[in-house]
């Protein structure tokens, strides 16, 4: 493994969607982060902050929604994913890059048994041994018990947590280098959530798979990830190793932190973030968080959205006044 080539490098990515009258609506601008081999990276942000769009740009399914990467680079092992054709995508998507979609309950095909479901995923990759044995191995990998029974069952007969395990098994069929899990536990119980997180950690440890975990739950990401990427209104506003993110350097992260109920006193003050995230296409000049920010100054309201400070790999913040945070 070469040391300076990152597994994934998202560089100033701009994602837009073409509207009528040839007008382009920008959904993501100034997205910046990277993922090392075997690293577990969490992406957090409110609904609509562009988390899922970034993922789609990594697995090349943006155009299905009429969107496209219109600026910057998405580098996967040094290869610019903007330049590759559909044939090349087919050799990456679901093979080198695995994807677990958001809704566990709607994920698996309802009319296929789990065995057929896994066989479909496995038919895309080479391997030895019978399909049945390979399917069983996959189910073992995601810690499903009673494998023989489960293989014959349909998704509706499984619980939400089990269905999510099956989806993860499908994504692992080809032993990908990168696994993207888009809010894998939304709508599941906390107990199931903690089991799924444990499973992801084990997959990372045993298979060396790098994992991108998308979530709106900072407490969750804080606990399992090596690195945290904070997104707001289509921009990366803060990136850093989990250990140093406990001292956030962007007011948005500060605000997210203070809305965590796991650290709040019962009935005590729970700070909420002022207002709503700015709507797509209605971004004001300057910092897109300025309207909701307690630290806002005159210079926040003009020019472009502030760039991330410092170098990639370090703790970076896109706040012009990061040095004042915690001092008001």
């Amino acid at each position: 493994m070469t040391s300076d080539v990152k597994l994934l490098d998202i560089n100033n990515v701009v994602i837009g969607i073409e509207r009528r009258k040839r007008e382009t609506l920008v959904l993501v601008r100034e997205a910046n982060f990277d993922v090392n081999y075997g690293e577990m990276v969490g992406i957090v942000g409110e609904s609509g902050s562009g988390k899922t769009m970034i993922c789609r740009s990594i697995i090349g399914t943006l155009q299905r929604r009429g969107a496209a990467v219109i600026g910057g680079e998405v580098l996967f092992e040094g290869l610019d994913l903007r330049t590759i054709n559909e044939a090349k995508w087919k050799s990456l998507r679901g093979k080198v890059i695995g994807y677990v979609p958001q809704s566990a309950l709607a994920g698996p095909n309802p009319v296929l048994t789990i065995e057929k479901q896994l066989a479909e995923a496995l038919s895309q990759v080479e391997g030895t041994g019978s399909m049945k044995n390979r399917s069983k191995e996959l189910l073992d990998l995601v810690k499903i018990r009673r494998v023989d029974t489960v293989m014959k069952q349909y998704p509706y007969q499984l619980s939400g947590g089990m269905r999510q395990r099956v989806m993860i098994a499908c994504a692992l069929a080809s032993k990908p280098k990168l696994l993207i899990a888009d809010e894998p536990t939304t709508g599941l119980d906390v107990t199931v959530q903690s089991q799924i997180m444990e499973l992801l950690r084990e997959i990372r440890r045993d298979l060396g798979t790098a994992i991108i975990l998308i979530s709106h739950d900072l407490a969750l990401v804080d606990e399992v990830c090596d690195k945290i990427v904070v997104m707001h209104a289509g921009a990366t506003v803060e990136v850093g190793p989990t250990s140093s993110m406990s001292k956030p350097r962007h007011p948005y992260t500060v605000a997210l932190n203070s809305s965590r109920i796991d650290v709040a006193k019962p009935g005590g003050e729970l700070l909420t973030i002022k207002g709503n995230p700015p709507s797509v296409g209605q971004w004001n000049p300057g910092c897109r968080f300025a309207e909701r920010c307690d630290y806002v100054q005159q210079d926040c309201l003009v020019g472009d959205h502030p760039a991330l400070s410092g170098k990639k790999g370090e703790h970076q913040s896109a706040c012009l006044h990061a040095d004042k945070i915690g001092k008001i």
Binding site: T186, V192, Q193, A219, V263, N276
Partner: protein, 267 residues
């Protein structure tokens, strides 16, 4: 403060779905009391029967056995509930903010409709009251005129709460109100609930998330397979859980809260 009056009593309630060999006993012999102005929590995993129990308390689901009393009166007479009035006193907020609002009605009409039904006032007056309620839930006039699909999950949930409040209830039953919305929207909703408690409302919060329960409630019932396995002051249950099941639930909370419980479990 003197001991508060008992508002609702659930006595030995069981609910069985189906019959014969396929019968499922979703709630088994559960009893609880709710006092005036008190926030209580019911916590458990999916399928533990907590939503069914909440539906019984709201008068939506007749129990197979046992009684529910509101201010001393039986809620159910046969399969019919709240025959002697009081239906407006117990209101429910449902789990799914995407499914519980009529997609054709904007927030204002949805709430105004409920106001008209409950307080028998004219259209203009109802809309005025609806606007006030929505305002209190942090939904301004501009957003109140939007259809549900134009609102975020958190906003929809707040419209649902405003609709429940239109009946001027004394008890609000909230079934997993925060599980489908994101963290900052959750904080916003919990803050509103705190405000409602200050105004004297009783809240029954049903959730699988002990973090939410700890934040809002004073007493908690832990439910497993239709049975209350543990109950008591929320703080006590959190600091000194007796049942393995409660300990496991605690250890599942992500972040700081679960950390201590996880450490204890490993020991």
């Amino acid at each position: 403060m003197s001991k508060r009056d008992v508002l609702m009593e659930v006595e030995n309630v069981s609910v069985t779905f189906g019959s014969g060999a396929t019968a499922v006993e979703a709630v088994k012999n559960c009893s609880l009391t709710l006092h005036e102005g008190e926030p209580i929590g019911i916590v458990g995993e999916s399928g533990s029967g907590k939503s069914t129990l909440a539906r019984v308390m709201a008068g939506l689901q007749p129990p197979s056995a046992g009684q529910i009393r509101f201010r001393g009166d039986n809620v159910f007479k046969g399969n019919k509930s709240f025959q002697s009035g009081n239906r407006n006193q117990v209101q429910m907020v449902f789990q799914d903010p995407y499914g519980s609002l009529n997609p054709q009605l904007n927030g204002l009409s949805a709430v105004a409709e409920a106001v008209r039904i409950h307080s028998k006032v004219g259209k203009d007056e109802a809309e005025q009251k609806a606007l006030e309620l929505l305002e209190r839930m942090g939904i301004g006039k501009l957003d109140a005129l939007k259809k549900p699909r134009q609102l975020s999950g958190g906003q929809r949930q707040r419209v649902s709460v405003a609709r429940a409040l239109s009946a001027s209830p004394t008890v609000l039953l909230a079934d997993e109100p925060t599980s489908a919305i994101d963290q900052s929207a959750q904080a916003q909703l919990l803050k509103l609930f705190l405000g409602l408690l200050n105004d004297g409302l009783s809240i029954v919060l049903v959730s699988h998330d002990l973090g939410v329960i700890r934040y809002l409630t004073k007493r908690v019932y832990v439910m497993k397979d239709g049975v209350f396995v543990e109950s008591g002051d929320t703080e006590t249950v959190f600091n000194d859980p007796q049942e393995d099941y409660t300990k496991m639930l605690l250890a599942s909370i992500p972040g700081e809260l679960g950390k201590a419980a996880r450490a204890k479990l490993k020991r």
